[in-house]
């Protein structure tokens, strides 16, 4: 079960600031879901089952091909000089 402390930790690793209201409201909501997915524990582990659905081998990947973008810049914080602007480190 997710406590308020654990919620704060999850928010930190997910990089999301939660409001006080969310900190109070989320634990019971999330715990309902956790309780529900707890049923998965009943399944006995079976190593004979292959779990490779949809996976693609690395050697099947296409080559990277460099193309010039013909639309507007994809990157939002690109300066005219071609630098990427980010928040200050300190």
């Amino acid at each position: 079960m997710i406590s308020i402390e654990e919620l704060k930790y999850l928010a930190e690793i997910s990089k999301i600031d939660l409001t006080d209201d969310e900190i109070n409201r989320f634990p019971p909501q999330l715990n309902k879901t956790i309780e529900y997915i707890d049923i998965l524990e009943e399944l006995a582990s079976d190593e004979s089952i292959t779990m490779d659905l949809h996976e693609i081998n690395f050697d099947e990947l296409r080559d990277d091909v460099v193309k010039k973008s013909d639309g507007q810049p994809i990157i939002k914080n690109l300066t005219e000089e071609g630098f990427l602007r980010g928040p200050k480190m300190k």
Binding site: T33, L40, L43, P87
Partner: protein, 481 residues
């Protein structure tokens, strides 16, 4: 003649090619229709009237010049707003992407345009596709055209409502756990989720890559086939995409063996169950065999789906840092360690909940308890379904276990909302194709039948759907709008 906005896709193409009306007249009538009804429905996030009219003029000019105009010439398409459209804002119904304008077209968009289809605009959804009612859009809820107080389903609710109300000829949705079939069922239209890989996901903004597919929402099965045959196929930009053969309108497969999934019928509302049984009787009338079967692993399907979808979401949505793409939020006022979590405050509540659940099931100690078990269940379920498909051509049941409900009715209980996806997630977990087709009403609210087939057996889905469509006599257009 009926209103132009009532025409099906193949009728539009015939009308324009036969010069009964011009593409410009047709597109003009669709824009007028949006102006007339969208203030009530709120299906659209962006309408590209200018772009649509200029594409229509090009088609009309090509007709005069006797140049080929493509198999979808003049067909207007509404696009779920999580599919990238070059030069048209693509928001995912999220504040985080409020100002994002893609610099490229998704493969499906490129293919549609190459075949003469006209992009009319971008349609509302639950933020990033996470929801079943379109109430989790950061902008506004979409309303059900059959009763404006009710939800249209989700997450492709705008795509369902716009097609049902004749605001666009057809639409594209995406389906991660039922997001095409749920609104198709709630809005009484046809919605097809293809076999995983049949349609390229290049340009679909990711929520849960291993589960989702783009597919059509239409007012007839024939229209869905037309769209599928254009958007399907191997794409070098999506390594999970696969080659496929075109779907025929008249195949030679003959009578099919159908099985009703007992648990899905038993878990549904009485009126839904009754209507689905009556549809299965119609299958028997046309000579299909029909019996009941059980799925052993069904109880684990939805928990497994929410574990996997949330895990993939938490990883996919980590990219929204508002540096590479995003919305108007000052960079100067924050330092490195606080900027990102402040920016990401702007995700909606449901998106936050799923990211947090995803982080939880992937975190140390819980990974093998939840994530690995969910993946294992997925394989077991797929094996079980494939075994059933050795014996039966199709598995059927209600698309949704309940009727559409009122806007606001379930919004305060996110968990209750999850439970409505119980019938649809099977196809996503197993990667198999599934369609929802309209089969009836209860108190004026639509009921959809879900048909599932083995991987790449879309032809069987279409055969059965066409046969049923012919025998079911129901109201096709909502009167209230």
């Amino acid at each position: 003649m009926a209103h132009l906005h009532d025409l099906l896709a193949y009728e539009v193409v015939e009308g324009i090619k036969g010069q009964q009306f011009t593409a410009e007249q047709y597109v003009g009538s669709m824009i007028k229709r949006i102006e007339d009804v969208d203030s009530k429905l709120r299906s659209f996030i962006t309408v590209d009237s200018e772009g649509a009219l200029s594409s229509a003029k090009i088609i009309d000019r090509k007709i005069k010049e006797k140049v080929d105009i493509g198999t979808l010439a003049g067909v207007t398409i509404g696009i779920k707003d999580n599919i990238s459209t070059k030069g048209i804002r693509t928001t995912c119904a999220s504040k985080i992407l409020e100002d994002y304008v893609p610099s490229y077209d998704a493969t499906v968009i490129r293919k549609l345009k190459e075949n003469g289809a006209i992009i009319l605009g971008k349609l509302n959804l639950d933020e990033f596709g996470m929801g079943s009612t379109t109430e989790y859009s950061s902008f506004y809820s979409t309303h059900n055209p059959w009763n404006l107080d009710y939800v249209p389903g989700g997450s492709s609710g705008g795509s369902g409502a716009a097609v049902a109300a004749g605001e666009c000829t057809v639409s594209l949705g995406s389906d991660t756990g039922g997001s095409i079939r749920c609104p198709a069922s709630f809005c009484s239209v046809v919605g097809l989720k293809p076999t995983y890989g049949r349609v390229s996901r290049y340009g679909l903004i990711s929520y849960a890559n291993s589960l989702e597919q783009i597919g059509p929402i239409c007012r007839s099965v024939k229209d869905a086939v037309m769209i599928m045959n254009i958007i399907s196929g191997k794409d070098i930009m999506d390594n999970t995409s696969i080659q496929s053969t075109p779907i025929a309108i008249k195949s030679k497969l003959g009578k099919l063996n159908i099985a009703i999934i007992k648990e899905l019928i038993n878990g549904s509302d009485h009126d839904v169950t009754r209507t689905v049984y009556s549809a299965s009787e119609k299958f028997k009338d046309i000579g299909y065999s029909c019996e009941e079967v059980s799925i052993k692993n069904l109880d684990y399907a939805l928990p497994s789906y929410y574990t996997l979808a949330s895990a993939e979401a938490s990883s996919n949505l980590a990219r929204y840092d508002n540096i590479r793409y995003g919305f108007d939020f000052p960079i100067e006022e924050y330092k490195w360690d606080t900027y990102f979590s402040n920016v990401r405050k702007n995700f909606g509540q449901e998106v936050k909940r799923r990211i947090l659940i995803g982080s939880y099931v992937l975190s140390s100690g819980y990974y093998s308890k939840y994530y690995l078990k969910a993946r294992m269940l997925r394989s077991l379920l797929k094996l079980e379904l494939l075994k059933l498909f050795n014996k039966y051509d199709l598995l059927i049941g209600p698309t949704m276990p309940i009727l559409p409900f009122k806007i606001g009715e379930k919004i305060d209980d996110p968990f209750k909302m999850y439970l409505v996806d119980v019938n649809t997630v099977l196809a996503n977990l197993a990667g198999i194709p599934a369609i929802s087709i309209p089969v009836g009403f209860s108190n004026g609210l639509p009921i959809g039948l879900q048909i599932m087939a083995a991987p790449c057996q879309e032809q069987k889905l279409v055969d059965a759907s066409l046969a049923l469509e012919d025998t079911i006599d129901i109201q096709r257009r909502p009167k209230s709008i």
